[in-house]
Every structure is written in structure tokens, then in C-alpha cells.
């Protein structure tokens, strides 16, 4: 064994160890930091490269046959329909109940579901939240948040999601004349805006008398599409309900497609936010959309900002947190090493902090009534920022 050989080993290892240390490369400027961050994130591979090439070995060494894919199944039950393991998987799970609308499935009320060995408590209204009275007290400012799994705090202990943390913060530091703040978490896996519209149209939201309705969104994948495309492929147009989406589905069938183009997705976003805004205005409740970044290199700030601008173009007030994770190592904010679609507890803490700041900053402009309650009934500003 030659000294030169050992020296090369040690030097090369030392160089690699230093070069990939984030404290070191982040001093080289934002461009270099972004590049090396992407280099270190296999989320990039999964979303970008992996989609384009499907070699035998690539297939085996990624999702299906990799230890990462294996662990994802091990802990999440992906690809297994054994309801005793993953209560969120499979139509016959005792924790689901079918809906006769575009949501397809929904949670059963009053249950504690173990997911990834973490208790997810659902209250008597079927919300992942504590119990609330049907009507808020007069001195209580009630917010209803609608969104998907990150709002539900998928895989995060009860009370540690950003919605619960924000509620705690608002109650610890009350704003304006309000003595109490309640945030009702309507978040659920895959419940993005189109399913939020169904929740509103099913009369689940406004009877609870919110003073503000918040739609939480992010930049990647419209997860509702899976259920939608499935319904379209089975000609279940009655269950889809909305004529716009029915026509859209018939167009997909005519063109023998199972995917929406980016332009089509944008048009659905515009349509759904017009509808959501319309419902909130009719109910005279202010509303806004909040864009949260995900710990995934595909969810880059510009992409989220573009989506939020599109939403803003509909007249919906918008708080975009697309810069909230700037300077942070995204991998360290992932819920689990194999799950880059969900924030961990630290990510939720950041979202709660920044959303709190955003709400206070935009209170007056959006007419949220946090500091000065408007006379009943509230009328939303609904203005574009």
C-alpha cells in the first residue's frame, strides 16, 4: 500500500467532505448554494431525471426496489392495501368513509389514527383538530383553513402543525379586541382547492361562522387530479358534479388522455379560485390564499410565486410564503428522509411564524378584521394585492 495512494484517498475525502458542507458552500453565494442544494437532493432526480428514463436498473434502484422505496412502504404502507397498517390507504379502510362527490373519500369523525407511529386525532367534526363549539363566542375570532396534507400536518404530532401553532401564537399574543382565536383545520390528504370547493358547497364551512377562510396551497402537483382522472375514466361524471370539470373530463376522454397539461392546470386554478371567491363573497366572509413552500427542490420559490400570482389574478387576496425557506437546507425540513412532500415540525414552526407575520401585516389591506372587528356581517375586501 503506497503512501501516495493513502494520501490521495485522504485528500480526496477531505476535499469532498469540505466541499459538500453547507456552511462552506453557502458562502459562495446564492447561485452556488442553490446548485449544490439541488445536487445533494435526490428529490431532484426523482422529479426530473427519473421521469424521463425508465431503465430496468433505474426502476429497481428508485421507488420500487430501493431501500428508500422499501422504507417508504415500510412506514407508510405505500403499495400495500393492508388497512391495519396504513389507515390512509385503501377504500375499505375503517378510517375512511366514501363520499359521493369529487372528494371520493373522507375521514371518519372522532377517531385516533396511527400513521407512521404518530397519533392523528380527528374530532367529532372529522377535522384533525381539537373539539370546537358549533358557533364561536362573540369575543372569538374564528378562522377556517382548508387545504391538503401539509395543513392536516400529515405525520406530525397533534398540536404541532402550523395551523395549531398559529392558533397558539394568536391566543398567546391576542390582536385587537379579540380574546380568543380559533382555527379550524379542514386540511386532509389530497384536499386541494377543487376539493375545498366541494367542502364549501356541501355546507361544511360557513355554518361554523368563520370570520376568515384561508385556502392553503403549494406549487407542485394537483393531487385531486388522481381522483378526478379516475372518476373520468370510469364515466362517473355525476360524482364530479361541476359542469366545468365535467366538460373538461369529457375532453380528456375524447382525446384519450389521463393527464392535464400545464396550461389546463392553470385554467383549473383560475376557475376554482373564481368559484371560491364567489362563495366567500356570497357568504360575506373574507378569504385569502396562502402559498406554502415544500421541502422539495421542485417547489422552488419562483414556481410557487408564479402560482400565487396566478391566484392573485383572480382577485383572491394572497399571502405567499415562497421565501420562507430561503437559506434553509430543504432536506433538513423534510418530514422523513423519504418524504419530501411534507414539512417536518421545524418546517411547520417556520410556516406558523411567517403566516402569523403575514396575517398581521395584511390585516388592514385585506380587511381581515383582526385588529378592528367590522360590524356584522363581515364583508370581504376581496381585492387583489
Amino acid at each position: 500500500v503506497k503512501t501516495a495512494f493513502i494520501t490521495v484517498n485522504l485528500v480526496l475525502l477531505a476535499v469532498l467532505g469540505v466541499a459538500f458542507n453547507r456552511d462552506v458552500y453557502s458562502r459562495l453565494g446564492p447561485t452556488a448554494t442553490r446548485y449544490v442544494d439541488r445536487f445533494r437532493s435526490d428529490a431532484m432526480i426523482k422529479e426530473e431525471s427519473r421521469a424521463e428514463l425508465s431503465t430496468y436498473y433505474e426502476d429497481l434502484m428508485f421507488e420500487g426496489g430501493s431501500i428508500k422505496g422499501y422504507l417508504a412502504r415500510r412506514y407508510e404502507g405505500y403499495n400495500y392495501s393492508l388497512d391495519e397498517w396504513d389507515p390512509f390507504d385503501g377504500d375499505d379502510s375503517p378510517h375512511w368513509q366514501p363520499t359521493d362527490d369529487l372528494r371520493v373519500l373522507g375521514p371518519k369523525p372522532s377517531q385516533v389514527v396511527m400513521l407512521d407511529r404518530i397519533a392523528h386525532t380527528f374530532n367529532s367534526m372529522g377535522l384533525r383538530d381539537r373539539e370546537y363549539p358549533a358557533r364561536p363566542a362573540p369575543d372569538t375570532y374564528r378562522i377556517i383553513m382548508l387545504g391538503a396534507s401539509n395543513l392536516m400536518a400529515h405525520g406530525i404530532p397533534d398540536g404541532k402543525g402550523f395551523e395549531a401553532l398559529l392558533e397558539d401564537t394568536l391566543n398567546a399574543e391576542p390582536v385587537g379586541p379579540w380574546k380568543h382565536f380559533e382555527i379550524l383545520n379542514f386540511g386532509y390528504d389530497s384536499y386541494t382547492e377543487v376539493k375545498n370547493l366541494v367542502q364549501i358547497d356541501k355546507g361544511l364551512v360557513f355554518p361554523l361562522q368563520p370570520r376568515l377562510v384561508v385556502f392553503v396551497t403549494h406549487s407542485i402537483h394537483d393531487f385531486w387530479e388522481w381522483d378526478y382522472v379516475d372518476l373520468v375514466s370510469r364515466d362517473q361524471f355525476a360524482q364530479i358534479g361541476y359542469p366545468y370539470l365535467v366538460d373538461f373530463g369529457k375532453q380528456l376522454v375524447a382525446e384519450d388522455r389521463r393527464q392535464l397539461t400545464d396550461a389546463e392546470r392553470d385554467s383549473v386554478v383560475v376557475w376554482v379560485y373564481h368559484e371560491l371567491l364567489d362563495r366567500c363573497r356570497k357568504a360575506s366572509v373574507p378569504c385569502l390564499a396562502v402559498g406554502i413552500p415544500l421541502p422539495n427542490s421542485m417547489s422552488d420559490p419562483e414556481r410557487l410565486a408564479a402560482r400565487m400570482n396566478l391566484i392573485r389574478s383572480t382577485g383572491m387576496p394572497v399571502i405567499s410564503l415562497h421565501r420562507s425557506l430561503d437559506g434553509r437546507d430543504l432536506v433538513e425540513l423534510q418530514r422523513e428522509p423519504w418524504d419530501d412532500l411534507h414539512l417536518n415540525a421545524e418546517g411547520h414552526r417556520i410556516m406558523a411564524r411567517d403566516l402569523h407575520r403575514g396575517l398581521l401585516a395584511e390585516d388592514a389591506e385585506f380587511g381581515l378584521g383582526l385588529r378592528a372587528p367590522a360590524p356584522e356581517p363581515l364583508v370581504t375586501a376581496g381585492a387583489a394585492k
Binding site: 484517498n9 475525502l13 429497481l60 420500487g64
Partner: protein
Amino acid sequence: MASTALGADATGRNFTMSGMMQKLILVAELLLLCIVLQETRIISPAFIRMFWIAAAGALLQELVPIRFKPAFFLGLSLVCTATVLQIFPTLVLVGFGLALIGVCQLPIRLGYRVAILAAMAAVVAFYRTGAAWLPKPSMDVLVIIPVLASMFMFRLSIYLYDRENTKTKLPWTQTLNYFFMLPNVCFLLFPVVDYTTFLQSYRDRDRWKVQQSGVRWILVGLVQLLLLRLVELHVVRDPDDLVTRLDHFLYVVSAYLMYLRVSGQFHIIVGVLHLFGYELPRTNNKYFLASSFTDLWRRINIYWMEYMRKMIYYPMVLKLRGWGPVRASIAATVCVFIATIVLHAYQYFWLSGDFRISARDLLFWGLLCALVLVDMYRERRHMERQRQKGALLTARGGPQWQTWLGTAGTLTVMTILWSLWASESISLGRWLEILGRVVAP
């Protein structure tokens, strides 16, 4: 104090390195490897976690008496497996694995043992398909199937084969090490390690040299995976977004480059085993520089080639020797490729849950088989000519430029073939259109 010849200094004199210095260097190398794995995140977090334990184990084994070192490796392998799978699934894995090995030991005819093993595999296979009508055991039992399969799907056949063809008593601890070897739990796609080679590669003395080659193999694997990341960032193209000729060219070449992931991981696997005294041969050898298709077959995924040679090629040639050497060799080679197709689908099933033999698979392996056969014919003719001239027999010959030409030709054809294989997301017509854009004047 023990000392080892290290080399020569600037004056040409030999000098030695003390045992303590060797240990310090190894500590530094392993610590740096842990840091590099942690910082680059080039491999799964499960492996990074496991490697910290393995590195500590590689250092601690120096304190273990020589005769207990294999047992120490077995214990460490099981601990590492448990850190990834947790304790109960690991116990299930070991229990089922011992049952499979136990069947191989039964004092009954080979055919009966194979039948029992096949029946056991069939039951597990039904569960692997996720058939809803089966009684559902605990998820902790079900989730170990891919890991169990990764450890036993090929190695069990080699073990059974070697057990039948050897008269010596096989060592139990090393047998268990062979099946439950440490890095396997983190790499479900695992090189098909040969049982006899595994036993013969073990060195219980002079570990320093073996460990240094292990560190080098891990480093080589890491560099290959880093290069692959560059390929993924800058070379891979979306077939729907190809505009320039360069885009088309990069789309075609990127597929073959993705094999760096396999070779990189295999180098790391073998490197980890070297740290514990298993001086296994290399798994891939400069396959991009293969000068012919037979040469490629000898360089790429060498363990697979050896497995096929041992289990299919030689038995077939022996069985068909009445046909004459040329015909027997051709028939055996065709059988090797047919077995490769079927066993790749078999492997795919166990690891991912789906049985995959696509038209592209058949086309790829069929064309590769034809090219290997043509090369075999050319090599045989070359050797015949040399024999007639009374020259020393060599498989290759000719001037250097011919070798380089062969390398360029093999690389080009393999790049195109691999691209064809990897482009399942687009139609054959679209792939030909892309290829046409690359080669069109």
C-alpha cells in the same frame, strides 16, 4: 510492535508503517468517509446510518480474536439490519432465512429440497403480489419480503449448487454471513456474490491491505455516483423538450451513463465487505472501454456473468458437448441470454412486486445476444488462425488502432441499445426519430 512494509521514500529506501499508524489512518479514512456520505447525501439515509455503525465495527474488530471475527461480522450485520428494519422484522427475516438454509441441509434428495424451497417461495410470492384473498399476517412480516428476496433469490441457488458440488464441510458462520451480509439491507439490488468466491476471499490476516482496497472501492463508488448526479443535472433530457441536435444526442447518451448508479453502488458494497476482510473481486471493470461485446460481457456486472457461467453456460456446454464445441457454445450462450431475461424479470418481481418482461427487454437482450455471438465467432476465427500459424493463443490481437476502433464501436452501439431499452416512455417510432436527428447529416 507490528510493522508493515509501506513502500519506498524519496531516497529509495524501504520504510515501514507501525500498526498504530495504520489504525490511525484507517480511523481517519473511515471518519472522512462517514462525513462525505453524510454531506453529499449521495446514498440513502439508511445506508449512511448503517455505515457509521459499520465503520465503528470495522475498527472494533481489531480487538476481536481472529477465530471470532466471522461471528463478530455476523453480529454486526444483524445489528445493522435491525437499525434499518427494526428488531421484530429482523427476527422474522432471520427466522425465515434460517428455515430456507435449513431446507438446503435436509438429508433428502436434491429434487425434494428444491421442491420444498419452491413451495416456500411460491407462498411468499403470493404475498409479494399483494393478493387480497390471502390471510393477512402482520405488516412486520410482509414488509421483509423484498429484503429477504434480495438476500436469497440468487444466493440460495448458488449455495445449493456449491453444497452439492463440494465434499468439505461448509462453515456455518460464514454461510450465515454470506446470506445476511451487512450492506445488503440497504441495497436491495445487490451483486450476485458467489458462495465459493465469498469463502475464498476471506482474509483473517493482513487486513490492512484489504481494508485499504475497501476504502478505495468505496471512494471509487462515491465518485461514480457524484458523476452520475452531474449527468442527471446536465445531460438527461425530457423527450418532449428536445430542440437542438445536442438535446437529441444527450437524450440518447444519458441512458447508458445511468448505469453508473449500478456500478457505483456495487463498488461501495464490495468496498464495505473489504473492510471486514472479504477481498471480493471487482464487480465492474471499465465497461465504457470494452473493445467488443464479449469483452463488455466480461466487464459489466461481472458477478452476473460469473453466475450465468457457473449455473447455465458450463452445465449447458457439458450437456451439449455431443454437438461439437462451436454449436454447444452458441446454444449455451443463447440459453444464458434467455435465462438473463427471465431472471431479470424474476428479480424485478421480488424487488418491486411486478413481473416485467417488455418488448423492449426482449429487443435489448436479443440484440445484445446476437452481437455477443458475432463477436464470439470472430474471436474463435481469430484463435483458429493463430493456431494454424502456431502463434500464442490470445482472444484479441491486432494493432492498437483496431482496439480503439472496437472500443468506439462497442460504446456507440451499447449507447444506442441502452437508449432503446430505457425509452419505454416513448414509442419506438419516436425513439427512431430522435436517433435519426442525431445521426442525420
